[in-house]
Symmetry: C2
Subunit: 407 residues, 2 copies
């Protein structure tokens, strides 16, 4: 894409309305626009990052046989009444609204109830199981405070997956596959080496669950780990009986700040029983379906990655999810001409800064926007038929023959 054709620009100053460094840069570099606290718009750069994250998640979930669907935002109170989650006392993050034709509706903060109900049309027998379905959809949570940019939104993009099994053993098999898929997803997102599966509280669903936590200074959570990170516990489960279960002592564990980037829960029959999702087993007996749920905050993980890798100059995106892989700059008349020539036919992953600005301003924008590789052609580099490539992450520069350039 040519920068001159984009409507976004970078701002000289970081916004005062954001507290987190990553969020400041995301606004300053034109990725997002704040509507209200916890409510953001995604501009072309930001949407490209989101789409790349979505593609990685989709590919890995499709591989484990999960099927993509799209459930509605507007929710029927009747369903949520059956699981005792409609009352604001039971679930305090509801946004509710009124139907003009009469009656209340909710904006879905999660989707266990409607999907469990929906599956009653499709799951009848053990032969129909196991099944898993996921969606990448906008969720709404009426948080009292929202000050972490897109890391914790009132409106945010989430991947939520639900599994339906005929037994605990069948469930465990899919649960394990989903753990592996999650590990691959974080690996491909560029945070595989700093993201850990942690043992966590089960919240309202179960006694325990697992979270995926990425080590990051601004994280809202504290996690505790042993020397080789083979045991990683969320703070809320640092109890004697659990330490004993993992055969570790409190003093062997160190703490660090981390941000949750995913969670997986065993739901058992918590939803299938009250909503009546049953199947006929091999013996002809009716049983409630054994369920699990699996979340990744898509916009949240984008925020965590922005925070995690940002430096004093701006954002630093992992290659796989950067809005563009290359930031192309031509210096001088020959350089601009050569850059334009290089750009043609390679537009998909190249952001060509064809604006009428000084090279220094373009270099600053390349750093602020955080494109992995800056490619510069100038009279000086062209003398030897070369381009200069600077890696954003390390700042290292090398010269590459134009004929060896593989955009």
């Amino acid at each position: 894409m040519k920068f001159s054709e984009l409507f976004v620009k970078t701002f000289h100053e970081a916004p005062k309305s954001e507290e987190a460094r990553g969020a400041k840069f995301l606004v300053q570099a034109g990725y997002i626009h704040k509507e209200l606290a916890g409510i953001y718009d995604y501009l072309p750069f930001g949407l490209r990052v989101l789409e790349k994250i979505k593609t990685i998640i989709r590919e890995e979930l499709n591989k484990i046989g999960s099927q993509e669907i799209l459930l509605s935002t507007l929710q029927n109170p009747e369903l949520w009444g059956k699981t005792n989650r409609w009352d604001i006392e039971k679930m305090d993050i509801w946004f509710k609204t009124e139907l003009a034709a009469g009656g209340e509706l909710g904006l879905a903060p999660t989707h266990e109830e409607p999907l469990t109900e929906l599956m009653k049309s499709y799951i009848k027998s053990y032969k129909d199981l196991p099944v898993a379905a996921y969606q990448i959809q906008t969720k709404f949570r009426n948080e009292l405070r929202a000050k972490s940019g897109i890391m914790r939104g009132r409106e945010f993009l989430m991947k939520d997956m639900y599994s339906f099994s005929s037994s605990e053993a069948e469930h465990e098999e899919f649960y394990h596959k989903s753990e592996e898929a999650y590990a691959k997803i974080y690996e491909r997102l560029g945070i595989g080496d700093c993201t850990y599966r942690t043992f966590a509280s089960g919240g309202v669903f179960a006694k325990y669950s697992h979270e995926f936590q990425t080590v990051v200074e601004v994280g809202e959570d504290t996690i505790w780990h042993n020397a080789d990170w083979s045991v990683v516990l969320n703070e809320e489960v640092m109890q004697d009986e659990i330490l004993a279960e993992f055969d570790v002592k409190r003093e062997e564990l160190e703490s660090t700040r981390a941000a949750e980037v995913g969670n997986i829960f065993t739901l058992k029959d918590k939803f299938s029983r009250p909503l009546g999702l049953e199947f006929t087993d091999r013996d002809g007996k009716k049983q409630p379906v054994f369920m699990g749920c699996y979340g990744i905050g898509v916009s949240r993980v984008m925020g965590v990655i922005a925070e995690k890798f940002a430096d004093e100059k701006g954002l630093v995106w992992p290659e796989a999810i950067a809005p563009f892989k290359y930031y192309l700059v031509g210096i001088g008349e020959n350089g601009m001409e050569k850059a334009a020539e290089l750009y043609r036919g390679h537009s998909e992953e190249v952001l060509f800064d064809d604006r009428d600005l000084r090279p220094g301003e373009k270099f600053a924008d390349a750093e602020l926007i955080g494109i992995p590789y800056r490619v510069v052609v100038s009279d000086k580099t062209l003398k030897n038929g070369e381009a200069e490539i600077t890696e954003r992450k390390s700042g290292e520069t090398r010269l590459v023959k134009l004929s060896d350039l593989t955009f």
Copy 2:
């Protein structure tokens, strides 16, 4: 995809809860699931259709230089107050909700206000113009009645585009490009030959606008056209002065039922003036930006196409947006084996019915689901090294050499 791996099934009976024929088939064939009137979930087939429609729209809008963004659902009343569209008396389709931290929010039924406000950060000078941005996003409209399936939802997927120009002439140029892009979109969606640009009322924005109307029996609108369809008018503009403008007489026009599948509006300064979106012109003078807006109901157009082409046996999708292009059936042991062999490596556009069902049941499902080509291999066809291909639309069958099959 293998049918046995999908969680959806077709139902033997059409749902009583739907009135329109297309909507009945969409539920019966497992494309959508009704949550409440006007509120639907999209199952794997349905989501594949939506995604294909989205891709066609994206490709054509990107070609005219429009940039994709994603704006929030939750809306700040302050912005909509400035244009006098927050009050329920002025805009009666609002869903409103309360922020736990205090204050009201709305669920966006459209996005003129927030995008106009957002552009104040990016548009300063005539050099920044023209600009166009679009999104494909879920809209909410609190309709009193909703009984046309996904043709008229309370929650629906919409493509809304907005253009920003420095003059009426600059606006006209983009408006014309968008008309051409729309024509290409409907052509690619398979409704080019029955979709017309009509002259329509401008609603709250302007005196007149244009709509794109698809001729379909169940359409909610009446359009009037002359013999060669060079003049097509919405019913609400059938007034003497307008007929005179088009140089046609009332008795020269015939009426037909149609469904709106898109609209384009000239907004002038209706939003830029109250919200203060100004630019500095060549003479250094501040002027309000000249705007336009351009909509396509993505889920609506899916509903219209379903209604338009359905026959007594089920849905009939145009090739470009069918969930799969081929429905593969093997009959007998050799047929099943050959089908499995053909399927491998061609999974993307092939729905392989590998279920343990009689061929007649599979054929009925192929027709109900509306896949464009049914491909059958059996002992009989294999004797001559052939497959039997039946076109859903015409019902015509031909034999094709296996070596000539190009999935």
